[in-house]
């Protein structure tokens, strides 16, 4: 919305903390001073993660489930998945990048959040509902939600705000019925800009929430080894 959005203070942080999902996961704990821990018992699986290894281990876990797509159907799944996303998210202002085995959906913060807040706007909520409908059908996907900010303001605050916003999106998806096990949340702050922060336009593009929808392919070996690990 505007640059002040990233400089929100005390009371706002509290609100975000209240919105934020709990963190009772086996993943390594977030950097110090980040999330307040487990405020809600109801959502124990909404994970905040920090490394690619976390994502990989979650993907492997999902690969053992029935929701994972068969290896010989990967191309078909991606084609119909893309077609569905293209049909339902076209002309919404959401950027969609079709990658090899994933789809990157980018919400600009302009349409995503209230002024300086992690609270989703009604417009964003409606869009995420549409996305949720797709994800409920296309279950062979792991959804990694990353919040990003521009570089204005306190980096630590920015990181926490970005994470809170990512969490808001994840919570909304979960509320719609998307399994917690498919949702992962990351807060990058301003560390991964996609545009030059020197310009207002660049900063606006950097303030965003990205949803990486990663294909989960059935892993026969993982399935075979499942009894051993459990």
């Amino acid at each position: 919305m505007n640059r002040k959005g990233n400089r929100a203070h005390g009371p706002l942080l509290l609100l975000m903390a209240a919105l934020a999902a709990g963190c009772a996961t086996p993943e390594p704990p977030p950097p110090p001073g980040a999330e307040p821990s487990a405020t809600r018992q109801a959502t124990p699986q909404l994970a905040v993660i920090s490394t690619e290894a976390d994502i990989e281990s979650r993907r492997l876990a999902l690969a053992r489930t029935d929701d994972a797509v068969e290896p010989d159907t990967v191309g078909y799944f991606m084609d119909v998945f893309r077609a569905r996303v293209r049909r339902d998210l076209a002309d919404t202002g959401i950027a969609v990048d079709y990658l090899d085995q994933s789809i990157l959906v980018t919400f600009p913060n302009q349409i995503g959040f209230e002024f300086g807040s992690a609270q989703l706007t009604a417009e964003a909520a409606a869009l995420i509902d549409r996305l949720a409908a797709i994800l409920l059908e296309y279950r062979a996907t792991l959804i990694v939600i990353s919040g990003h900010t521009d570089d204005v303001g306190n980096p630590d605050f920015n990181r926490r705000l970005s994470e809170a916003r990512a969490r808001s999106v994840a919570r909304h998806l979960a509320d719609t019925g998307v399994s917690h096990s498919r949702l992962m949340v990351r807060g990058f702050g301003s560390s991964q800009p996609v545009a030059d922060n020197a310009s207002e336009d660049g900063r606006a593009r950097n303030r965003r929430v990205e949803l990486m929808l990663r294909l989960v392919v059935r892993d026969d070996q993982a399935v075979a080894s499942q009894p051993e690990t459990t």
Partner: protein
């Protein structure tokens, strides 16, 4: 005679070229025409095939959209019944399915549990429609199907049924949609790719076939490649080519025959005229000239008469121009003159009649005629005053040598008359340049005297003109007493025509003349 042989040779040569050229032209035009007709047929066929395919695709998309909207519980009895009915009502639809993501939950046409999930879609449209063109990955039961999915439903179309073999008339046909091969008949035949072909018809002589490519594009670009053997093509158009070509050739030959006939007739007429002149079959006849006031005969116009051996006579209107064209003009004039001179020699009676001799254009073109005339008159002892010379307007070209020649003849004592005045030469300038004595008013003006024709008003000025120039007037073609009265009243002194007498041969004219002038 050598002349006419040369002419015949030229005619033959021209005829040969005249045949070769039109034959080539006819063959070429026929070929172009045939190719054009065939192209039109192919375009029509291609349009039909393309329309069939386009309808099937558009219909499939609309059907899928409708199914996505409908409210039946997925995979319920009602839902499956709907799918079945929609599939059965379309001959080219082989299967329909209800999907979630990559799982075919239920459907018709394929065995439950079987699904076609090709690795790569051929097209993903913005509308969300996905299509897989026929290929190994879309094959079920040995038939490569065309698959389309939209939302949760998909449809499998048998592309073979998009082509109706009965329409093809023996051609092999393949169809590309959006640059991807959709269907072919026969299925296993080899086809060149559309992009390798020129648009339209290509005659591949080496392959003994005709290949055509027709591109159409209404909703999607569709291209149809058709192949037919040259033999089939020839088989279809042989009758047309032969019949039209035959008619063309016959017409051409007919025309040539006509030309040949005309030319040879002209040539033979020329030859006949020559032999008629040589054989004395061209004789002189005399059309009396009468003084209108007194009715006395004052002489005659001498005309040629060509009588063939079988008694047929040929009109001077035909043989005089013929003689002029054949360069026989002067011989003809001299022949008639000779006959006239003999007639005068056999007529001892005192006779001061003046005889009008018609000159041809040839006679004035050179000095020969003038010399011969003098010789013959001297030989027969006939004074020049008795022979008036009639010259047509056309002969009196604005040429100094001709003017001098006419002046010389006049000086010798010949009276000079303008024949057919008003019908030939348009400029009256010659009336001033040439020294003339008599003006003969053409029959057409005399004929029109009792009518309202425009020419009837012209005769008076002609008379006035002649009188102003101090020329004697002879009216030609008088056929009634009224004409005589009218002309005499206007001081026209002389006349000739059937009212008095038709042209008569020598003895007859003598009798007529004597009787008239008793």
């Amino acid at each position: 005679m050598g002349n006419s042989r040369n002419a015949l040779l030229v005619v033959c040569l021209a005829g040969a070229i005249g045949i070769a050229l039109p034959v080539t032209l006819v063959v070429w035009v026929l070929w172009q025409q045939t190719v054009m007709v065939e192209e039109e047929r192919l375009i029509r066929l291609s349009e039909n095939l393309a329309a069939q395919t386009e309808n099937a695709i558009v219909d499939a998309r609309d059907l899928l959209a409708r199914l996505n909207e409908q409210g039946d519980e997925p995979c319920s009895q009602a839902h499956l019944l709907t799918l079945q009915n929609e599939a059965l009502s379309r001959p080219h639809v082989r299967a329909m399915g209800y999907w979630q993501a990559a799982d075919r939950l239920c459907g018709v046409g394929l065995v439950q549990g079987q699904r076609l999930t090709p690795q790569r879609a051929s097209r993903i449209y913005d509308s969300g429609v996905i299509a897989w063109w026929p290929g190994p990955a879309t094959t079920a039961g040995n038939v490569a199907l065309f698959l389309m999915r939209f939302g949760n439903h998909d449809i499998a179309i048998d592309p073979r049924l998009l082509i109706t073999p009965g329409q093809l008339e023996g051609k092999r046909v393949a169809l590309w949609v959006e640059g991807l091969k959709m269907s072919a008949f026969p299925e296993d035949a080899a086809f060149p790719l559309p992009e390798e072909l020129p648009e339209g018809l290509l005659v591949d002589r080496a392959g003994n076939r005709i290949v055509s490519r027709v591109a159409l594009g209404s909703l999607f670009p569709i291209e149809v490649v058709a192949i037919q053997s040259l033999d089939d093509f020839w088989e279809r158009y042989r009758v047309m080519v032969f019949s039209i070509g035959g008619i063309g050739l016959v017409l051409m030959l007919l025309w040539l025959a006509l030309v040949w006939r005309y030319l040879s007739r002209q040539l033979s007429l020329e030859a006949a005229l020559r032999s008629a002149i040589d054989g004395g079959r061209v004789t002189a006849v005399y059309q009396p000239v009468v003084e209108l006031g007194s009715g006395r005969c004052i002489g005659a116009e001498v005309l040629g008469r060509w009588t063939e051996k079988n008694g047929d006579t040929i009109s001077p209107e035909i043989f005089v121009p013929l003689a002029e064209r054949a360069g026989l003009g002067t011989r003809l004039t001299l022949t008639i003159l000779e006959a006239l001179l003999e007639h005068l020699a056999n007529w001892p009676e005192e006779d001061q009649g003046i005889y009008h001799l018609n000159l041809t254009e040839d006679d004035l073109a050179g000095p020969q005629f003038s010399q011969r005339l003098r010789e013959r008159l001297e030989h027969h002892g006939v004074p020049a005053q008795r022979i008036a010379l009639e010259i047509t307007e056309r002969a009196l070209l604005d040429s100094e040598p001709i003017r001098q020649r006419v002046a010389e003849l006049r000086n010798r004592g010949h009276s000079i008359a303008i024949d057919d005045f008003g019908t030939g030469f348009s400029s009256l300038a010659y009336l001033q340049k040439f020294e003339l004595d008599t003006l003969k008013i053409d029959k057409t003006f005399v004929d029109s005297l009792q009518t309202d024709a425009v020419t009837s008003r012209v005769i008076q000025p002609i008379i006035d003109l002649a009188q102003t120039l101090d020329l004697e007037i002879i009216a030609e073609g008088i056929e009634s007493a009224d004409q005589v009265t009218w002309l005499a009243a206007r001081n026209v002194k002389y006349g000739q025509g059937y009212w008095y007498s038709p042209p008569l041969d020598g003895p007859a004219f003598r009798d007529w003349h004597l009787e008239r002038n008793l």
